[in-house]
Symmetry: D3
Subunit: 81 residues, 6 copies
């Protein structure tokens, strides 16, 4: 009976999406449940998977809100000659 909580930023990673799509959530639920069955033998029908989407300005990394952090990192990335 595992409990798995997945937190991701609320943004689209599929074409035209602004957040995680139902299909992507279903794939995450299936993948995690299969993984826990394969690795620990945990039955899928007592495995909870909960996905939380967090607003971009509510997620910090590098001491900055994530969008600012990504900008900082991309500016610092070496430019191709």
């Amino acid at each position: 009976m595992p409990y798995v909580n997945i937190k991701v930023t609320r943004e689209g990673t599929a074409p035209g999406a602004f957040s995680t799509t139902p299909e992507q959530k279903a794939a995450l639920i299936k993948g995690v449940s299969d993984l826990l069955f394969e690795v620990l033998g945990k039955p899928r029908n007592t495995t909870f998977v909960i996905i939380d989407e967090v607003e971009l300005d509510s997620w910090g990394l590098g001491g900055l809100p994530v969008l600012e952090y990504r900008e900082l990192v991309s500016r610092a990335a070496p430019k191709d000659e």
Copy 2:
């Protein structure tokens, strides 16, 4: 000073409701706080109760999003003669 987090799917269980009603939340808050006082003697005024409602497509059980899982289970349930 207990901290209690209750996660439930965002759906109505009261007539006409589409999510947990304020009255139901108040009943959960009272019930949990009373329980912690009765069992562990924890004073109610330092007991936090936080209720999270999770979208149905963000909650997985049986390797499936919960609505699909419920459908699967109801189809598999023995029909009454």
Copy 3:
């Protein structure tokens, strides 16, 4: 299928106990499961209850580790004449 997480400080509240006893944990599990059935109609056999005990020096209130906070509060409490 609710998920309930209860966090309490690791200390005894029953005579002679140094942490939450198995009987107290069982009472919390039963009480919470019954509450979610009574208030939201959630079946007990898909209600997860997880109890975490936190070391006293890892729990802060009032900007202090909890034992120091309790001392501060008890010193500040009016003495009976």
Copy 4:
């Protein structure tokens, strides 16, 4: 690589705001990341900070939803002569 989760009630504490402002969130992210660097030497670029805002009727204290608790406390507070 610390993970810090901050939960606060969804309400404005800045003039005219109805929830935590982006600037306040940025200040919390910076402050927590700096703190973990200063106290534990944890590099900021592997410190996650996630801020959750919880609806007022989903947060309980004193066995009551928080707004009712605040009202109770303010009514009980000694009035200035």
Copy 5:
């Protein structure tokens, strides 16, 4: 930059083990990180995976501590003729 928290009961599922083995934890970490890369394109080097093992008497299902629940279920299971 996903954050994934996996909670399982502290018990062995590998021969001779009394809890989740380091190898099993490594397999869970790899599997979840790969899954988030494949489904959402999330880079592995900003994916946190945290595994919590919960004492058996601190995990409840069916209103009972998990070991009692398992016993109840196994007693109720139809015996093979």
Copy 6:
């Protein structure tokens, strides 16, 4: 009444320590409580801070248990001429 949960790996960052010291925990509790007062005006005496220490083999980054990840990164780091 904020709730703050800080998760860090269980390792020493102070000389001779094998985990976070009580003094470091107290500094984190004070720092976070002060921050929430300064940024959001939240009173310290209703701010919960809970610190969790996670075993090194239970924390994953880059698809690896953290010690392996650190080794990988340090091997890949450019050597000083």
